[in-house]
């Protein structure tokens, strides 16, 4: 974009913040700290006035699409509305300004909140116990896999294989590999679901667990889930469910009833906490009674009417977070669950499923859905037919930006050619869905009659299509202070902010 970097706004001597005058005796740093421990020069950070920073970061924010400003149908990410109420609750000083080492007597309110949140998550999923510690879905997966390893070691079984369907999120195999497991991929069946024959073939005595997503990344419910779980359990193996798609299941079906042994929830998806441009999230892990002893510590306990931290665990995998997890995110999720309550949660998934099926119905005449069944909260369309016009799914994604919609997830799952993975969520209105369908159909028309327009998209953003190849070949990951700007700043001269 043509906007300046904050470094290019720097003027020597400018400042944006003043500390109050010191009320303690001045100290000469050279006298109290050894010379060789001191920094030779001030860090070369930008020097800007407060208002410089305010205008800079306000203008910069306007170069973003966001849930608050644009429809954001990013499949598998559940980009629903993030209620402002939750921000208000999380900002209360009694939550935001708490130190993790304050004695439990000074933290009874937050401990109660965390305890009740665990109870709610247990009720929603049918699991027996939860840890709130993992900071994100992927860290939840990692925690679950460490627990699977610890469980088998305790049973004195050597198990080194994790089965993962070919439709899985990339984090699944990455988390499994990071935990020292070997990944064996399961080819999906013709219906896009787990193929029982393929599963039986690959279910050896070395299998520690199956990692599956339900509904899967095609938005389809694994109908045979109980049979699948029984097959795994017969072999002494476990079933790990990636709960990224839980927005389809609230009050509809519970993983604990399906035979799932462990799962992670992504509170930043299903439970509405803001994605923040890529975090912080939270990835609590729920388990059955048989796995409870392996959960990370510390765990919050209720003794009588009081709450406290229990730091020891008989078979615990230890700790995955510096403290207790992303508490600020957990407070928001708690506020959300209490706002919706049991009826609101159920209505949420119903509306999410209707919205997804409605959009699918509006689009599938033009964009076929390869594994066609009623979908749950999302669906995957194939744009293969546009190849004849030299237009790819990526091109359509970019063209959608020109129409004022963020793009759906593209080229995923890998088993669908030219995939467009669309998740509208329950918080979008029918009017928005209609407008989105109309935009996609208009782009399909453009692809046939003016494919160049689609291939050159986007044209209405603050920048045109970005050269990602150059970015990777000549990595420029930081501004070199002292460098003259490569492109003079002309913000305001051309297109400024995204519409």
């Amino acid at each position: 974009m043509s906007d300046l970097l904050i470094f290019e706004r720097s003027v020597p001597g400018r400042r944006g913040y003043w500390l109050p005058p010191s009320d303690v005796p001045a100290v000469s740093v050279g006298e109290v700290l050894p010379e060789d421990q001191l920094r030779a020069a001030q860090p070369p950070l930008p020097e800007v006035a407060e208002f410089d920073a305010v205008r800079h970061y306000t203008r910069l924010s306007q170069a973003n699409f966001s849930v608050d400003t644009h429809f954001y149908p990013l499949g598998s990410c559940t980009m629903k509305y993030n209620p402002k109420l939750n921000e208000r609750v999380a900002a209360l000083p009694g939550f935001a300004w708490l130190h993790p080492l304050q004695p439990a007597a000074q933290a009874q309110g937050i401990l109660q909140l965390l305890y009740e949140l665990e109870q709610c998550l247990c009720a929603i999923t049918g699991m027996a116990a939860f840890t709130l510690q993992p900071a994100a879905g992927a860290q939840g997966e990692l925690t679950g896999l460490k627990m699977i390893a610890a469980y088998h070691r305790r049973k004195r079984r050597a198990r080194s294989t994790i089965l993962i369907p070919d439709s899985a999120h990339g984090t699944n195999p990455a988390s499994a590999a990071l935990s020292g497991f070997t990944v064996v991929q399961l080819a999906s069946g013709p219906d896009g679901l787990i193929d029982l024959q393929e599963l039986r073939r690959k279910l050896t005595k070395d299998v520690a667990a199956l990692m599956l997503t339900n509904p899967n990344t095609l938005g389809l419910f694994e109908r045979d889930i109980k049979t699948i779980a029984a097959l795994l359990h017969e072999q002494g193996a476990l079933v790990y469910m990636d709960g990224a798609n839980m927005n389809a299941l609230l009050g509809i079906a519970r993983p604990g009833d399906m035979g799932v042994d462990l799962l992670q929830l992504n509170l930043h998806k299903t439970f509405s906490t803001p994605h923040g441009g890529g975090g912080p999230g939270a990835g609590p892990v729920g388990v059955t009674k048989a796995l409870e002893d392996f959960l990370p510590v510390p765990r919050v306990r209720k003794v009588g009417a009081r709450f406290r931290w229990e730091t020891r665990g008989r078979a615990t995998v230890g700790r995955v977070h510096g403290w207790y997890g992303n508490v600020g995110v957990l407070v928001r999720a708690y506020a959300y669950i209490r706002t919706l309550g049991r009826e609101g949660l159920a209505r949420t998934s119903r509306a999410a499923i209707i919205n997804a099926n409605y959009l699918k119905a509006k689009l599938q005449g033009t964009f076929p859905v390869p594994f066609d069944d009623h979908c749950m909260h999302e669906f995957v369309a194939s744009l293969k037919s546009l190849r004849a016009h030299g237009v790819s799914a990526g091109d359509v994604a970019k063209r959608l930006l020109d129409y004022g919609c963020y793009a759906p997830t593209v080229y995923f799952p890998l088993i669908v050619e030219e995939a467009l993975m669309i998740e509208p969520t329950e918080t979008e209105s029918k009017e928005t869905l209609d407008a989105f369908a109309q935009a996609l159909l208009a782009i399909a028309h453009e692809a046939q009659h003016n494919p160049e327009l689609v291939r050159r998209a986007p044209q209405r953003m603050v920048v045109d299509r970005v050269d990602e190849v150059k970015a990777a070949r000549e990595p420029n990951l930081r501004f070199s202070t002292g460098d003259a700007p490569k492109v003079p700043g002309t913000f305001g001269a051309g297109r400024t902010v995204a519409s």
Partner: protein, 446 residues
């Protein structure tokens, strides 16, 4: 209440478009035996009720804003300029996701690029990523990187590295053949002699924390040199606020430097969310975990930003990725970026200087009490370890202080059983001289 806008009439109309007679038809793939009963979750609440509930729960906590706190021990409360809250609350910052569509995410991408640059400048390191979960997992990821980069299997850590970081690393190593060995301390700092003895050519890395968990300054330069002599990587875990004055990790030859960066513009929030700062030398760039934003051009040749070097990442590489991470702590990284641009070079130096002065003043005053003595004779930044006379048990003193409106130093006995009377005190710019003087008055009456 809920946040789904479509009315019952609209939902019926939508079901007709779908061609489904009822909602139940849509969920027919879910076997009937699995249909959930009513969830055992309390009924929903209106906004005013949720606010009241939140305030009641928050009111059962004692906020740091209601007392004078000397707690640090890895979680440091610092000033937050008003502008940080005001700007970061904008929906355009709070509600987008990972900037996969670069053209519609230039704000987030440029902010990450600025963040990476500022972290590099503060640390004097070549490369910074877009952030990891927190300081503890950053230590673990740094050690994993060292294992990958060296092909070796031993990790040496000082016992003065935060115990929670060591525990997280131990969890991350479950299922891995790599081993961890702790290096003891002498007089509050890592014992270089023990380190020297443990160093062999199978050591992948040495991890030290600066200042260390006791608040003491470590001999980073010497430790780094010893590590490099056997071909290992030197990993520094640092305290960003201290870098306004202290030597940055790049200056003492760290190969990887990490930190808990939450103290740059975000509140403690009971320890999370944190902000893992992760930096490395250029030589390690392609093995770095997590997201990286890069500067490039658009089709018209204008400067533009995008996520880059994604072939390291899980969504491309799957089981061969450098890490399973698929987010950063973007919103806190933004807050840190705004924080650092407001404070600038002089502000960061003054902030660090103020911490040094406040901590010196408090420690001098605390020494007036005959039953309190510094545990170590070492230079420190804003945190120091005291030893109380056995007649004054640390927990008892803290209870008395709590009644007087103070959070006293953190009792170290739980983490270091050899220090039953150890108490770790942190004094930041937020503590006023009158508060310190009042603390001494209260202690004198104990």
């Amino acid at each position: 209440m809920d946040y789904a806008p479509n009315t019952d009439a609209q939902l019926q109309e939508m079901l007709r478009t779908i061609g489904a007679g009822s909602f139940e038809e849509l969920i027919s793939p879910v076997p009937a035996e699995l249909h959930a009963r009513e969830l055992d979750v309390p009924p929903g609440l209106a906004e005013a009720q949720v606010v009241a509930l939140g305030e009641a729960l928050a009111g059962r906590n004692r906020a740091l804003t209601e007392m004078v706190s000397f707690l640090g021990a890895g979680c440091y409360a610092h000033l937050i300029p008003t502008v940080v809250d005001a700007l970061s609350a904008r929906g355009e910052w709070l509600t987008p996701y990972t900037p996969y569509q670069a053209e519609a995410s230039q704000g987030t991408l440029q902010a990450i690029y600025e963040f990476q640059t500022m972290v590099c400048e503060l640390f004097q390191m070549d490369v910074a990523n877009a952030s990891l979960y927190d300081g503890a997992s950053s230590v673990a990821e740094a050690a994993l990187l060292a294992l990958r980069a060296t092909g070796r299997s031993r990790i040496l850590l000082s016992e003065a590295v935060h115990p929670h970081a060591r525990e997280v690393l131990a969890t991350y190593l479950i299922g891995s053949p790599a081993t961890m060995q702790e290096i003891p301390t002498v007089n509050g700092v890592t014992d270089l002699e023990s380190l020297g003895k443990a160093l062999r050519d199978d050591v992948a890395c040495v991890v030290l924390q600066q200042p260390n968990v006791f608040g003491c300054l470590e001999p980073m330069g010497q430790a780094g040199e010893l590590t490099h002599r056997v071909g290992g990587l030197f990993i520094a875990s640092v305290y960003p606020v201290s870098l306004g004055l202290l030597q940055p990790p790049g200056a003492y030859g760290a190969d990887i430097a990490v930190a808990e960066g939450r103290c740059l513009g975000s509140p403690p929030a009971y320890g999370g969310p944190g902000l893992g700062l992760f930096t490395a030398t250029t030589a390690l760039l392609r093995k770095v975990p997590g997201r990286l934003a890069g500067c490039t051009v658009d089709q018209a040749g204008r400067r533009a930003f995008t996520l880059t070097l994604q072939t390291r990442e899980q969504h491309i590489r799957r089981e061969r990725a450098t890490s399973n991470i698929c987010t950063n702590e973007g919103w806190l990284a933004l807050r840190a970026t705004i924080f650092l641009s407001l404070l600038g070079p002089r502000g960061m130096q003054e902030l660090a200087q103020r911490n040094v002065e406040k901590a010196r003043y408090a420690r001098e005053r605390l020494r007036e009490l005959a039953w309190i003595a510094p545990a170590f004779d070492q230079p420190f930044f804003n945190e120091f370890t005291l030893r109380f006379d056995p007649a004054h048990p640390v927990e008892t003193v803290n209870r008395r202080l709590a009644a007087a409106g103070f959070a006293g130093g953190f009792p170290l006995a739980g983490w270091y059983p050899t220090m039953p009377q150890g108490s770790l005190w942190c004094v930041t710019e937020l503590i006023s001289k009158p508060s310190i003087d009042r603390l001494i008055d209260v202690l004198k009456k104990i």
